[in-house]
């Protein structure tokens, strides 16, 4: 499996993954959007605003998934020094940050009509905001070094430290900081509600898979760009040094 850590070998594979991801993303997002916006029923409490959930929840899931995948890549980079893992962190972090931002913004748009406020300092919201800042830290560290390899390594360490810290942050926020919060808002939260009707679950899962494929396609595009960018960097250094 580590054979594909070689950028050249990876290239032979990435093209096919990219094509499959694009096709699957188009199919699933198209079908999912039809289900979510037209076919699925409005909620009896939230009426039409429930449709925001079909974007909000997949974005939230992806924001977590991408961070975990970055942590795995960080582990691979620090242990086996595979450069591709460093490229992956560099490629995935901005996409992860974008999904986290999408999750926060769509959540605010949903919260306004449902909760009557754009933002509450609820534990879940706060921990997603913290996740967003961890992403920003990784991006900033990636670009803060003159030597891009060092930026990747530093960023990998930050992601690793963050992945140890993220559960602590999450539980400290959820268990300890909610003491002072009105509990009525969290009980409204759509995920904790007992069960979800199949008419709504199906579009949600279809959308989630579509988002995952979309992420796969985007990350492979960015990864290819990173590899090309590094090649250009090396060629430039060669011409400078004669």
């Amino acid at each position: 499996m580590f054979g594909y850590a070689n950028p050249k070998k990876y290239k032979t594979l990435s093209h096919y993954i990219f094509l499959t991801a694009v096709i699957l993303a188009t199919l699933f997002l198209g079908f999912g959007l039809y289900l979510a916006l037209i076919a699925s029923p409005p909620d009896y409490q939230q009426s039409e605003t429930v449709r925001i959930m079909y974007v909000h929840v997949p974005a939230a899931w992806l924001s977590m998934f991408i961070y975990v995948s970055m942590a795995v890549a960080a582990l691979v980079l620090t242990i086996w020094k595979h450069t591709l893992a460093g490229f992956y962190i560099r490629a995935a972090a901005p996409i992860g940050a974008a999904f986290t931002a999408a999750c926060l913004i769509s959540g605010a748009l949903w919260g306004q009509p449902t909760w009557g406020t754009w933002w509450v300092w609820d534990a879940r919201l706060t921990s997603v905001l913290i996740l967003f800042f961890l992403y920003l830290g990784a991006i900033a560290l990636n670009n803060a070094y003159d030597n891009p390899d060092k930026g990747n390594q530093a960023s990998a360490w930050l992601v690793l430290i963050g992945s140890v810290n993220l559960p602590i942050i999450k539980f400290s926020v959820e268990w300890w900081n909610t003491l002072h919060q009105p509990a009525s808002l969290t009980s409204l939260s759509k995920i904790t509600s007992p069960g979800i009707h199949p008419d709504m679950l199906t579009p949600l899962l279809v959308m989630a898979f579509g988002f995952l494929c979309l992420y796969g396609a985007m990350v492979i595009l960015r990864l290819d760009n990173e590899i090309l960018g590094r090649k250009i960097h090396v060629l430039r250094l060669r011409t400078i040094n004669g």
């Binding site: 920003l136 803060a144 530093a154 360490w157 930050l158 400290s172 300890w176």
Partner: protein, 220 residues
């Protein structure tokens, strides 16, 4: 062990002879605490309810200040390079750095903390305040060490450092403020305080190893 002592003494001496952060940081701590009644109004009831969080935030901000300069001088004058060539393990050096850092930037805040708690109207015994601020400042120092080593060779180090370190400080803030808060209720509980000590027990042995790794990475 000589290595550790030498590093610690060197850092302490440099700080004392430069007119020291060990005096400046408590002053900064006091300044921030002074801002609260000016910003929130001098109503002691309001201050009292917010005091646990506000005190921890003041300590957190004061802990941010010394991080940037932590390793820069040692890197620029070649100390770290020399140490990496020496047969001594680098973790002695970073442990010495941690101890000196806490004596300069943590201990003064700990000493100040009962006074600050009193000024904010908290009704907590001073030994308890110390028992909360000792692990809290130590955790600020340890996490700050990691972040400082992480952003050592980076451009725009100081802004970056704040961006990296503040999210990592959040659990310390929550447990510290929670500990102060729960100790002034009618049934004082020590749960959050014990969490702070538990966090310290985990972070203390790990930090020198992680900073050593990071320094080696930076020096490549």
């Amino acid at each position: 062990m000589n290595h550790l002592n030498a590093t610690m003494l060197k850092d302490l001496k440099t700080d004392f002879r430069h007119g020291g952060q060990f005096l400046f940081l408590p002053a900064f701590f006091l300044l921030i605490v002074m801002l609260y009644p000016l910003g929130l109004g001098a109503n002691l009831k309001v201050l009292q309810t917010a005091a646990p969080g506000l005190l921890m935030i003041a300590a957190l901000l004061a802990s941010l200040l010394p991080l940037e300069k932590l390793y820069i001088d040692d890197m620029k004058d070649g100390t770290i390079d020399l140490l990496m060539l020496s047969p001594q393990p680098l973790s002695f050096y970073s442990t010495g750095k941690i101890l000196a850092h806490w004596i300069i930037a943590g201990l003064p805040l700990v000493i100040m903390s009962p006074v600050m708690a009193m000024m904010m109207g908290l009704s907590i015994n001073w030994p308890d305040v110390l028992l909360i601020f000792i692990p809290a400042t130590l955790l600020f120092v340890l996490i700050g060490q990691i972040a400082a080593a992480l952003s050592l060779g980076a451009r725009r180090g100081s802004v970056l450092l704040a961006l990296l370190v503040i999210p990592l400080y959040i659990p310390v803030l929550i447990f510290g403020a929670g500990a102060l808060d729960l100790l002034q209720t009618e049934n004082p509980t020590k749960g959050p305080m014990l969490f702070l000590w538990a966090g310290l027990a985990f972070t203390l042995p790990v930090t020198p190893l992680v900073t050593t790794k990071l320094l080696k990475m930076q020096m490549d």
